[in-house]
């Protein structure tokens, strides 16, 4: 079978040093996105395990699979988790969730935990939409703008380009930076139009990395207009899959004149982490 260049790696992780049996409160967060699904389990507000995988056509099934995968090799079972929050596009389709919360609140809370309380602006570059969020030192949303009109400038668009360029998706960003001169951005960020434009450039004799540079450039520019609406403040953090693409991140930083905090974890789990943390807060409130 031909190589599928868009296929990013799914994986799971478990904290080696946390025992759930000692935990007072165990909460879960499931972020069913348009492209990927993450399940996070937290014990007393510390990440115990997580899984990150592609969302299938069946959302409830994807949610279940991700949670089972996160809990594999652990004797912790679903019924021992005190509170589970569903978030993301498919949040109403998490059958075992106690509550659903919009991904905007979850990403702000998650970024606050993962990047630290100094974060004021969060840009979530997801599979099928982008959100710019302002938050306070507790991770509470103070303003947001969401552009969910289409897949332009998002993870799904990158997958399409990986396929077109025959380059593994993880290497796209790096490759796009290998240009002597930054090309003009492609004029359309609509994935379908941008793809035909890119094919045109390739046939004209442009090299792969130049075409990718033009696309990453367009993507960064599109997101900048979104950020202008909420006025960007430091510290600035990017969550979601595109945060792993240096080609887009570097260009975005250049255009904004602001450095994004370098992540030390998987940027895709921010929403699910926020969901688990909000779940903890709700469970504690209900106990009182």
């Amino acid at each position: 079978m031909a190589q599928e260049f868009w296929r990013w790696k799914e994986y799971t992780w478990r904290a080696p040093d946390i025992s759930w049996t000692d935990g007072k409160i165990i909460t879960g967060g499931v972020d069913v996105g348009s492209v990927s699904t993450q399940a996070v389990v937290m014990v007393d507000g510390e990440i115990y395990a997580y899984a990150n995988m592609r969302t299938g056509s069946d959302s409830p099934d994807s949610a279940r699979k991700a949670m089972n995968w996160a809990l594999q090799d652990s004797d912790l079972t679903l019924d021992k988790i005190h509170y589970i929050v569903g978030t993301g596009y498919g949040r109403v389709n998490v059958p075992f969730a106690h509550k659903t919360i919009t991904e905007i609140a979850c990403h702000a809370r998650g970024a606050n935990y993962l990047y630290g309380p100094s974060v004021r602006t969060v840009l979530d570059m997801g599979g099928q939409d982008c959100k710019a969020i302002s938050c306070d030192e507790r991770g509470k949303v103070t303003a947001f703008v969401m552009n969910d009109k289409c897949a332009a400038g998002t993870g799904r668009g990158m997958e399409v380009f990986a396929d077109l360029m025959q380059v593994p998706i993880e290497q796209l960003g790096e490759l796009s930076l290998q240009v002597d001169k930054e090309p003009e951005p492609v004029s359309s960020t609509c994935v379908v139009f941008a793809k035909s434009e890119a094919v045109g450039l390739l046939r004209k004799g442009w090299r792969k990395n130049a075409v990718l540079a033009a696309y990453c450039n367009a993507m960064a520019h599109r997101v900048c207009t979104l950020l202008e609406r909420i006025s960007i403040q430091k510290d600035f953090a990017i969550t979601g899959g595109i945060a792993k693409n240096v080609g887009v991140v570097t260009r975005l930083e250049k255009e904004l004149g602001v450095q994004a905090i370098k992540p030390t974890f998987d940027t895709q789990i921010a929403g699910a982490v926020g969901a688990a943390l909000l779940g903890k807060a709700i469970a504690e409130q209900e106990k009182k």
Binding site: I101, I104, A105, A143, F144, V145, M146, D148, Q285
Partner: protein, 95 residues
């Protein structure tokens, strides 16, 4: 919190800005909107505070370009119905 619903295109920025701190959940704007794009809902953005706020319905978020067209400057220069209906002044528009 300011919730921005809308879009940017070649002709400008078209956003409805809802200030959830000012919104008292009275719902006066809901029937005022002729396109029925607003609804009262639990404040999902602050899950710990059990209050109701007004939001743009999920189904209409991607259709603001069309649903709000009758209230755009090109169609009607009059005061916007949702803005006028809101006593606490929680609704604003970028156009």
């Amino acid at each position: 919190m300011i919730a921005n619903f809308g879009y940017t295109d070649g002709s400008g920025e078209y956003y409805i800005m809802l200030d959830t701190d000012k919104c008292n959940g009275c719902g006066a704007c809901v029937p005022a909107c002729r396109a029925h794009i607003l609804e009262l809902r639990d404040n999902e953005y602050a899950p710990l505070a059990a209050t109701k706020i007004v939001v743009v319905k999920d189904a209409n978020r991607k259709r603001i370009k069309y649903d709000c067209a009758p209230c755009k400057p090109a169609s009607a220069a009059r005061a916007l119905r949702c803005v006028t209906a809101c006593k606490p002044g929680a609704i604003a528009h970028s156009w």
